[in-house]
């Protein structure tokens, strides 16, 4: 640590800045008070009330439907796309195009999708949210898998083909197993992204099927209740766990 010297100051400021609000939120979720801002004593009652809140329960179910389906579709499409780019296209432009949905401002994508759905006559529902989440989810999976493909060389696949295995056999016996960690990590990331995504869902969701972030948004906007603190703390825990697992499975920081 001695080589860090005075740089310890910005390092400390950054971590305090990043984690203090999260710490305060978690502490406040165990607050007995009815106002979510002032501490009066320890209680776990708000966690109990969460389960009985119909809006939150419904939002949770809607979100799970979208997140699970988006994860399956985005992982399948993104993995194939990554292999296609890294093994066959090898074009920087095609790669940039594939990763663009992750970089395009979410609001622009959101209104574009709303415009598309209304033009084509797709009724806004969980299905339109799903279609929208797959497009950026796929880009994240592709990014992680392409990074992994860059570390593994193609000679095993070539050997398999030279020894007479067909394309399909090679894919399932050689390519897929060597990519498994990256694919799982990518899937975990899509799941958290979809679970937490607000802006695109806000524009492409139907009025009767709000996802959990949309429920949270309206709760925060029109009267904060202490249940939000408990819900927020739980969701932070879920995201942290999933992202840390993804990080353990593959060295995530290498590819970001």
């Amino acid at each position: 640590m001695s080589r860090v010297g005075w740089l310890r100051v910005p390092l400390t400021v950054t971590y305090v800045f990043l984690y203090l609000p999260i710490a305060v939120l978690v502490v406040m979720s165990f607050n007995a008070s009815k106002t979510p801002f002032t501490w009066t004593g320890f209680s776990t009652q708000w966690y109990g009330e969460l389960a009985s809140n119909a809006l939150i329960r419904e939002g949770f179910i809607n979100t799970m439907i979208v997140a699970v389906s988006a994860t399956v579709l985005a992982t399948a499409l993104g993995t194939l796309l990554a292999i296609g780019i890294a093994r066959y296209f090898r074009s920087a432009i095609v790669e940039a195009y594939s990763l663009a949905p992750a970089i395009i401002p979410d609001l622009a994508l959101a209104i574009g999708l709303l415009a598309l759905f209304s033009l084509v006559g797709v009724t806004l529902s969980l299905f339109s949210v799903l279609l929208s989440h797959v497009v950026f989810g796929m880009a994240f999976v592709a990014a992680v898998v392409i990074a992994r493909l860059g570390q593994t060389d193609a000679s095993l696949e070539e050997a398999s083909r030279d020894l007479g295995a067909g394309a399909v056999t090679t894919f399932f016996r050689i390519t897929l197993p060597s990519l498994a960690p990256a694919i799982i990590a990518g899937a975990l990331l899509v799941f958290t992204l979809s679970l937490d995504e607000f802006v695109i869902a806000f524009f492409t969701d139907g009025p009767t099927t709000p996802t959990l972030p949309i429920v949270i948004y309206s709760m925060v906007r029109f009267g904060v209740t202490p249940e939000i603190n408990a819900l927020a703390a739980l969701l932070l825990l879920v995201s942290f766990t999933i992202v840390l697992s993804a990080q353990r499975i593959t060295r995530l920081t290498d590819s970001v």
Binding site: L11, L18, Y19, V24, Y88, P105, A115, S118, F198
Partner: protein, 298 residues
């Protein structure tokens, strides 16, 4: 032989082509339908007349572009630029030294430090913003602490100010500065630094003349990743600014969901996407020049 190596030749060429289609085809088609087409649709909408309940009537017009220059909207652009600009400068002032410090850690701690920077970014954005409502509230922990310490006599009105918007945006996008800056510092050739030191340059001189210029492309990427999303963010101005600070993002949101003027909303959204593309092009040009110079010098 890899399929790509043989791709110019007859049968195996066709095999590579079909493998390409099988693997990349569905994904590329999906992106085209659900990203490119929507963005082209937005571009098209800017040239047509608003429909009564959203959507467009197909009468060609350039009025939507003219409206963007009305004083009320120019003011929104000005406010957005200022707030996004301040946020970007603060993010670089904090993010650069943090990234620099991380490169000086041992490899094991470096990974831990980077994961800790990225981790909040993967959590629910609304919740991260909401945490600041608790923190900055007049009855919240920050005011409580300052009151108890006797630093202030009465609670400060921290929430629902432009300052709160800046803090919220900084909180949202700081990780996006640290990562590219870290990557660019990591790539700087240590031999160049040694050479500068051996030639008599002090620490400050070495940093300003060697490290900083070489890491400029990473700094620019970080700046773009803060500046553009800050302009397009409507949640933070709404929740932490109390709707008093109107940014470009709020304008787009309102045009689409409340005023139902999709063509005008599209013009503003096009501006944000155009800004992103223009800044990336600028970054690429500068990165090419800097890398070219480095090669020439070594």
């Amino acid at each position: 032989m890899t399929p790509a190596q043989t791709s110019e030749r007859g049968a195996s060429g066709r095999r590579a082509l079909s493998a390409r289609t099988v693997f990349a085809g569905p994904g590329l088609l999906y992106i085209t339908v659900f990203m490119t087409l929507p963005l082209l649709l937005i571009l098209t909408y800017t040239f047509f007349t608003r429909g009564r309940f959203g959507g467009v009537v197909w009468d060609f017009t350039l009025d939507n572009y003219g409206r963007a220059f009305e004083p009320v909207y120019l003011k929104v652009f000005g406010t957005s630029m200022l707030i996004a600009g301040i946020t970007t400068v603060l993010a670089l002032l904090l993010g650069y030294p943090t990234a620099y410090a991380i490169t000086r850690l041992s490899p094991k701690w470096r990974t831990v430090a980077l994961v800790l920077v990225v981790l909040p970014f993967w959590t629910n954005f609304l919740i991260r913003t909401y945490a600041w409502i608790i923190l900055l509230n007049s009855e919240g922990p920050l005011n409580r602490a300052l009151l108890d310490l006797g630093i202030i006599g009465a609670p400060l009105g921290l929430l629902y100010t432009p300052g709160a918007v800046i803090v919220g945006l900084l909180y949202a996008y700081l990780p996006l500065v640290v990562l590219p800056v870290y990557a660019s510092i990591e790539r700087v050739d240590r031999q160049l630094l040694e050479a500068a030191r051996n030639l008599g340059a002090g620490r400050a001189r070495t940093f300003l003349d060697v490290t900083l210029p070489l890491t400029l492309p990473g700094v620019m990427i970080g700046a773009i990743f803060v500046f553009v999303p800050s302009m397009g963010n409507f949640v933070v101005p709404e929740l932490l600014g109390g709707g008093k600070t109107v940014m470009v993002g709020n304008l787009i949101r309102d045009q689409f969901l409340e005023a139902r003027d999709w063509p005008f909303g599209s013009v503003i959204a096009l501006f944000v996407v155009g800004l992103l593309v223009a800044l990336f092009a600028l970054q690429a040009a500068i990165a090419r020049r800097i890398n070219g110079k480095k090669v020439a010098r070594v």
